[in-house]
Structures are given as structure tokens and as C-alpha cells.
């Protein structure tokens, strides 16, 4: 093999940097969705690589459901500060108070309420291009989405009418009120993410690593016991050595029993895994087309 050769992580990285710069160059008011999760950590690293030594020319945006893991929010705020990046947080709670988001009576999950909260934030700041950390290997509907995913003025995705995406020529043109969601990590797998985190020595929130936690068995999963999710009578409760593989809201994120406490341990664990990453996310299991429906409504 010649010395003019990029390995798979280098190839994915250069593709991601190229996309980051296209966004900065083609949009007037771009933003980057940053939750503090492992995918958006890689995204932020790509942004550094794309724009340094300049400042990252776009603000970070996060929709806080109020049901986040506290460790995640702490990490999010600290990381943004370290990078000197502007962080905008909009909360579901505020959106509900303003009547922008209306809860379904009796529904505890804030998952659905993220969508109007996000759309309101986009409108407030007139964002036209939003970079997100979604990957195609996560889910079947995402597997069909383009790098540059056009959304109409209601934020909706039309999977049957996507723009052809050819070579590395991304059509970023939109009319006023429309938006583009951009996914530089589209071609990355869960394994690539962890290998990149290892290679770049990126810090991740501690909940990705093995720790002790009181969990309750519900719908075949171990969910963290919190004030939001007290165990019901007759439910099995146990203190377990667990970690998160993918982070959703604290009331719907299944904890996996794992001794992995380093990036290398996690890589070894994924290599041997027999279920997918999103197998531990209750929000995706509600139906075969759960993600497709949410995306059509404006979700990432």
C-alpha cells in the first residue's frame, strides 16, 4: 500500500471536515446541535479540525427536555466553555409554558415535545443550516437520509422527494423559511465513533463508562431509578454495574450491564455485541416506523 493512503477513520474525517466547511460557506446562520453525547462530541472535534485556528463560526444549540442525565448537561456546558463556543439552550419546559409545545395529557415522555421546541428555536434565531450527529447505521429511516437533508418551512422531511446527492457536490440552496439539516457523520458506525474517540483521546461523559446505579426492570430493560421514574410496586429493582450505550432521556434510556470502563473496553464490547445500539432506546421501539414519523414531523 502506498504512503498516499488514508485509513477508514481518516477517510471519514476528511469527508466530515469537507461537509462542515460547506455548511459554514453556504449558509448564513448555521448552528451545530450539541448534546454532549458521543456522536456530537465527534462532531465538535470535526468542527475544530475544519475551522481552526479560527473560532468555530457557528453557535452550539441544545434542546433540553428537562429529562436529561445531569452528567450530560454538566459535560455539555463545560465543553462549550472550554472551546469558547457560544451555547444556546432552549428547554421543553419554557416551550410548554409559552404554549409552543403542548403535552399530551398523561404522557410523561418529553420526546414528542422536543420537536416544537427545536422548531421554535430555529425560528427564533433564523437558523438555516443545522448540523446534527445522526448516523445512517442507527436506524432504518436514517439509513435513507442524505448528508444535506432538506426540510420545508414546517421543518418536515419528505423521504420520497429527496434531492439526489452526487459525488461530494452538496446542493445547499434553500428559500427563505426553509432549512437544511446536515449530517457529517452519516457514514460513521458506532464502532467508528468509539475508535475515533480513542484515536483523538476525546473526553466523554462518565455515564458511558461502567458505574453503580439503582435500576428498575421495565419493558425488558433496566431503567435508572430517579424521582421521575420511581419503581412501581412489584417491579424488580437492583443495584447494578451498568453504563449507557446510547443516551436518550433519563426515563427511557436502557442501562446495559457492563464492566467496560475505558474506550478500549467499549470497543471490545461493541465488537462482541449481539444487539444494536438503539435496541436500548424505548422511543424507537414504539413502532416499526417510529423514527420515520418523528423525522417527518421535524425531528432530527
Amino acid at each position: 500500500m502506498s504512503s498516499y493512503h488514508l485509513d477508514h477513520l481518516q477517510l471519514l474525517e476528511t469527508e466530515g471536515i469537507h461537509i462542515m466547511r460547506e455548511v459554514a460557506a453556504e449558509f448564513e446562520r448555521p448552528a451545530l446541535l450539541f448534546s454532549g453525547g458521543k456522536d456530537s462530541i465527534c462532531l465538535l472535534r470535526l468542527a475544530e479540525k475544519a475551522f481552526r485556528p479560527s473560532e468555530i463560526p457557528l453557535p452550539l444549540l441544545n434542546v433540553d427536555t428537562g429529562h436529561h442525565f445531569p452528567e450530560l448537561n454538566e459535560f455539555r456546558d463545560r465543553r462549550a466553555k472550554e472551546l469558547g463556543a457560544k451555547l444556546i439552550v432552549r428547554t421543553v419546559e419554557e416551550a410548554v409554558a409559552k404554549g409552543i409545545a403542548v403535552p399530551v395529557p398523561g404522557e410523561i415522555s418529553r420526546n414528542r415535545l422536543q420537536i416544537p421546541t427545536l422548531l421554535a428555536a430555529i425560528e427564533e434565531f433564523q437558523f438555516d443550516g443545522l448540523i446534527g450527529g445522526a448516523r445512517r447505521d442507527e436506524e432504518k429511516a436514517r439509513a435513507k437520509e442524505r448528508f444535506f437533508s432538506f426540510r420545508d418551512s414546517f421543518g418536515q422531511w419528505d423521504p420520497k422527494n429527496q434531492r439526489p446527492e452526487i459525488w461530494n457536490l452538496y446542493n445547499a440552496r434553500i428559500n427563505p423559511g426553509e432549512q437544511m439539516r446536515v449530517f457529517p457523520l452519516s457514514n460513521w458506525t458506532e464502532m467508528d465513533i468509539w475508535e475515533y474517540i480513542g484515536k483523538e483521546k476525546l473526553e466523554v461523559p462518565a455515564i458511558y463508562f461502567s458505574h453503580k446505579r439503582r435500576c428498575v426492570r421495565r419493558h425488558g430493560q433496566w431503567l435508572p431509578v430517579t424521582d421521575l421514574l420511581p419503581p412501581r410496586p412489584n417491579e424488580e429493582v437492583a443495584e447494578l454495574v451498568v453504563r449507557v450505550r446510547t443516551i436518550g432521556d433519563i426515563i427511557s434510556t436502557g442501562m446495559i450491564e457492563s464492566p467496560a470502563n475505558s474506550v478500549d473496553d467499549i470497543i471490545a464490547e461493541i465488537a462482541a455485541a449481539r444487539v444494536t445500539e438503539r435496541g436500548s432506546r424505548a422511543d424507537d421501539k414504539s413502532s416499526e416506523a417510529a423514527m420515520e414519523d418523528r423525522k417527518k414531523a421535524g425531528y432530527f
Binding site: 466547511r21 436506524e139 439526489p164 457536490l169 435496541g279
Partner: protein, 439 residues
Amino acid sequence: MSHAQHPVEILRFNTCGSVDDGKSTLIGRLLYDSKSLMEDQIEALERSADITGGGRINLANLTDGLRAEREQGITIDVAYRYFATPKRKFIVADTPGHVQYTRNMVTGASTANLSIVLADARQGVIEQTRRHIYIGALLGIPHLVIAVNKMDLVNWDKERFLEIRDEIEDFLPKLDVFRDVKFMPISALEGDNVVFASKNTPWFEGPTLLAHLETVHIASDWNLDAFRFPVQWVNRPNRPNDVNFHDFRGLSGQIAGGIVQKNQEVVVLPLGIKTTIKDIWTCDGSLTEAFCPQSVTICLAHDIDVSRGDMIVGARNLPGYSANLRAQVCWMQTRPLQANKKYLLKQTTQTVQAAVTSLESRINFDSFEPEPAPPQLGINDIGIIHLRTAKPIVFDGYKTNRLTGSFILIESGTNATAGAGMLLPPLEPAKPEYSDFAI
């Protein structure tokens, strides 16, 4: 390093064929038999088998991710799949076969190293087969596999397989681009010759499809001959008090061809100014040398006004520079392409106005012969057109460099991506008036 044993080479391939040729089933079979599926995916398959499949697992459900696709049993859009074997990592684009969705085939195939074209053993070579092979050739995909599927439905008849092979081999010389072409008798549904060699084809020496995907030599697709650097983003930090960066003026972009070295002489086009490379800056430190497709930030020895859309090239092997372009175009929109229509043309990092001056020819997919002077190109038509751009562009022929020789046409108003273009070689190289830079 704990992950040293992981595969490092990526093969990108796409599958195409007509409706019901079994593309999604084939990918499902590859994933299933190569043990790339997880338990929850298999469970989901089994759940849908009970509901819609009459109890039998439908491997196509793995890639047909949209509700309408599962209901109608068709594939609507390009679906991407990722799997790895101990030998390689794979990015798979499953591209639909409906005639109206040819644009998605172009989307899925434009970045592929290898294309798998499926043919139904009962139906043989149909227009779709020819069209897909042609598009693969047009896009310059080096490797082609013709998978003759549903061989179980023709009783594994060797003669039928050879008949199909001969028919395709008859027209391949007209296309003259593929580096290698393999024919394979398979049954995606039953799994024969996909991952495991079939007992039904003693007359086929192999290899199986997966073995071929794992071993086919993918010499670099990237052009390492002539240096091309389309400026993507001007990197000018606002750090007046930082001695390292107060006068930093970087040009960020992805190298689209060739190799560049520190202190090398380069030309900035279209300005035509010669200068040298002062620094190849990256976030991880400066490089003495960089190559396609690395993303870097270049600093020039002179403070020249360079912006997005300009191109920095090596002093030898200059690209073309013209406002009059001739290109092969694949049309992807229902509103036809006609002479005098205007579009936005995006090539490398610039977008310019372009007018169609004339239509030279349209490909006839039965004969592969060009029909001269068609009145228009309709959706899925491929032909040669002439364009005039509002300002000249710097370019190479597509066969020389896929990244500097390609463009898309965008319709104003809807902003739809209406066509994919592959430039024919320039008639002559750029002739900059070498104003050697002097202060």
C-alpha cells in the same frame, strides 16, 4: 492498540437492478449470512414476518426502511448499510430499480468503487440492466459484478447463465471503462454463492460474492497526478493579540487531486498568479506534504486575494479554463432540459449561472448509440450538451478527475438538483498570463 486488528480498508459498493430483481434481498442475505445482523434486528424481522410475510422472514425488510416501502414491497430511496468482515469494511448503497428512480441510482453509485447489477435469470437482460451498466460506466466505477439472480427458478441452468453473460459481454466493449467484470450465478433468497459456495453450481468456479468483495483490488480511486485544491473557506482568525495567528491567512479545502508539498510552486486560478506554498496547516500540526482527498488549510507565500471558488493548482498539468463547456448529463427531473434554459451550475466549491446552448446527442439504451440533436432530455435521459457559464470555470475532464470534472445543475426557484454532469476534457489548458508575483 486494541483495535489494530480492525479492518482499515473501506469498499463502497452499490446494488442496482430492476424492480423485483431482489436487490434488497441480496443485501439482507449478505448481512444475514456474514453474521452482521444483531439479535434485535433479527427479532424485528421475525415480528414483521408474522404480520406481513406469512411467517417467512423477508430479508428485504432490512433495507426497506420506509413504511410505504414495506407496504408496497418496493424500495423508494437509496438506503445505506454498513457492515464489516475481518477483511474489510463495507458501505453499501441499495439503489432502487424503478425507471423513475434512476436519479437515485446515480446518487448511490457516484461514490462507489464497485457496482453490483442484478439480472433476473428468467427475464435476462432488459433495458434496466443495460441502463444500469451504462450509468456505472459513465460514472467511472472501476469494478462491475453482474449477479444473475433467481437461478433457482431456472433450475440452475448453466446454458441460461452463459446466454445472459454473452449478451452483456457483447456490448461491454462499447463502454470500455470497467477494470474488471465478474459474472456470478446466485440465489439471494436461498443464499447460493452469496456468502457460501453453492452445491447447485458445480460448473461455476467461484468466488462467492462476499469473497470477491473482500478481495477485489481497489487501487486508489483518488487522482494523485495533478494537484488541484478548490478553495472552500477562507480561514482568517480574528486574533490580533496572538503572535502566531495575527496575520494568519489560510485557505481551507479538500485536495481534489494530486499531491502538494511545502515550498512547492503553485498557480492560483483564475487569477493566474504564481506563488509558493508557505505552510500546509492542520489542527494536528503542519504537514510537509498532503494528498487527495485530505482536508487541509494552505497558507501561500504571498498575500493574494483568494476566495471560495478559486482553485490552487500545480504549476504543471494545468486544468482547463472556459465558459463554454461540453458535458455528459444525466437528467433527473420531470421538467425536461432544453436549449436556452438557465440553471445554477455547482462545480467544486463554486456556483455560477449557466445556460444550455445546445443539445448534441441523447443515448439510445437499446443500441448504446447517440441519437443526434434531440429536442430535449427528459427524466432519466443521458446525453451530451453544451453550456455557457456566466464566468469561466476551472475544470478537468471527468475521466481525468472525478472531483474537478463533475457538476450538478440546480433549478432556480425550486432549488431542485435537476441534473448530474460529467465534463468532457478541455480543448486546451488554461493560459494564465503569468504575472509572477512581486511586491
